[in-house]
């Protein structure tokens, strides 16, 4: 537990100070969302129709962008060797890094999403559920992504492979995430979708640290 | 008093007008305060350096 705090703490501090991995995500998310109206035109009706989808898809893409680097930088500078030699169970190490990733990318995304939803003219009824769905969905995104990121370490085509591996796994999150918000907008119950999102998060939480840990160990070999 | 309240109401647009004035005031005053603060800090640092310079130890400098 102590190791968890130390590791996550360092990654947080590094993210805030150095690579701006968290800021890139937010900037990317904001600017990407702002670009859509230029592409599809400014008509409020069209924008409102696609608002949820655009916010969710760009959120996923933004997370993917930063996942690429979650272990890669440590791998390249030798830090991963030292983490494997830390004597702590690797799933714990993974969990700490995922927590830091989520705090630096998922949380800012969640905080920014209402503002972007305003520019996209999301109907007012959808805001609460959008945030709730993102809160439940983004940890899954980070957890699944970590497995992919660990698997592609040291391969020559890391980035591509990662998107190929991970994006299909994001489809359920995307479907239930948008469905929840749309249900909220037309006034139908959102609990079922939110429950599914929560279930996905739990599943990812139990499985992916082990899978990612195993992948990391064979990456350093 | 009535008139004043009515004035404050801004014809029903108080929610928009007053925050606008508030925001602008905050922005302008904020940036002035920040500029003054860094200016003061740097002035102090510079004066310290200057008095250091007058020390006999640095006399050899051109």
């Amino acid at each position: 537990m102590n190791a968890f705090v130390i590791l996550a703490g360092r990654d947080l501090r590094l993210a805030l100070r150095q690579s701006g991995d968290s800021l890139i995500v937010v900037a990317f998310f904001a600017i990407a969302t702002v670009l859509f109206p230029f592409g599809v035109g400014p008509e409020a009706a069209v924008l409102a129709r696609i608002a949820v989808g655009v916010v969710w898809v760009t959120a996923l893409l933004a997370a993917l962008l930063s996942l690429d680097r979650i272990f890669a930088m440590d791998f390249e500078d030798g830090t991963l060797d030292q983490l494997v030699l830390s004597g702590h169970p690797l799933p714990l190490v993974v969990l700490a890094k995922v927590a830091a990733h989520w705090l630096t990318t998922g949380v800012p995304l969640i905080l920014l999403s209402p503002i972007l939803a305003v520019t996209m003219r999301l109907p007012a009824a959808g805001y609460g559920t959008l945030i709730l769905a993102l809160v439940l969905g983004t940890p899954t995104v980070s957890l699944i992504g970590a497995v992919g990121a660990a698997l592609v370490l040291g391969t020559r085509r890391g980035g591509v492979l990662l998107s190929l591996l991970v994006l299909p796994l994001y489809v359920p999150v995307l479907i239930f995430g948008t469905a929840a918000v749309e249900a909220a907008i037309i006034g139908r119950p959102t609990e079922p979708m939110l429950m599914v999102l929560g279930g996905l998060a739990l599943l990812a939480l139990t499985l992916s640290p082990w899978a990612a840990g195993a992948a990391l160990r064979q990456a350093v070999e | 008093m009535e008139g004043f309240l009515e004035y404050l109401d801004m014809g029903g647009y108080a929610v928009w007008v007053w925050p606008a004035y508030g925001l602008v005031t905050t922005g302008l005053v904020g940036i002035l305060a920040m500029t003054l603060r860094t200016l003061k800090a740097r002035q102090k640092e510079f004066d310290e350096l200057k008095s250091l310079r007058r020390n006999p130890s640095a006399d050899g400098s051109p």
């Binding site: 102590n2 100070r17 150095q18 390249e76 500078d77 030798g78 830090t79 702590h88 169970p89 070999e221 | -």
Partner: protein, 224 residues
Amino acid sequence: MIDDQFVPAAFTGEDLACHRGGRLVFAGLDFEVSPGNALVLRGANGSGKTTLLRLMASLARPATGTLFWGGAVVDDPEAHARRLRFVGHLDAIKLAQTVAENLVFWRALWCGPANEKIVGEAMGALGMAHLADFPVRHLSAGQRHRLALARVIAAPAPLWLLDEPGNALDEKSLAALSQMITVHRARGGMVIFASHGAAFVNDSETLDLGQFAATHVSHWSDDL
């Protein structure tokens, strides 16, 4: 929590062989280090020193052969990891942190609570005390390498595995390295390191990896 687990024991390996990229790098290699001793790995570039050190750290698995710690087979990589410190060709340093922050982090991760004093001592031992609050990005090559070495002092462990620790060090730093190895051995610690250069450690055994080369391509015979 691990801080007081400084329990040296004989570290040996039997009949080790290792593949890299589908090629057998060395085979039939035995080694032995007892508490207080040092083992120098020598051999031409590409002879497998780095490979062997990673294998000793249980970062890689041997193709054949076994490692023993105090006579018992090393089979739990996590437990083994706690007994050793490894300094490789890569520095494992985050450029955005300061020297002290880097040390404090590893100390805390490896040995529980960060101890200000020992971190200060580690920096002092490698002549970096005045650089404590420097961002690593501003350090020269040798200073960075010294930081990687200081980590080993900040978080004590009985076995040190150092890959060319003398690289890029100036004379005074070399003396400091030699000194820190002497102190470590006096406590019963063990050191295994790869080196090409002059011996900066007294009274050490040498393992020449050239002997165990599995493929007998001399790099030189045909070219020079």
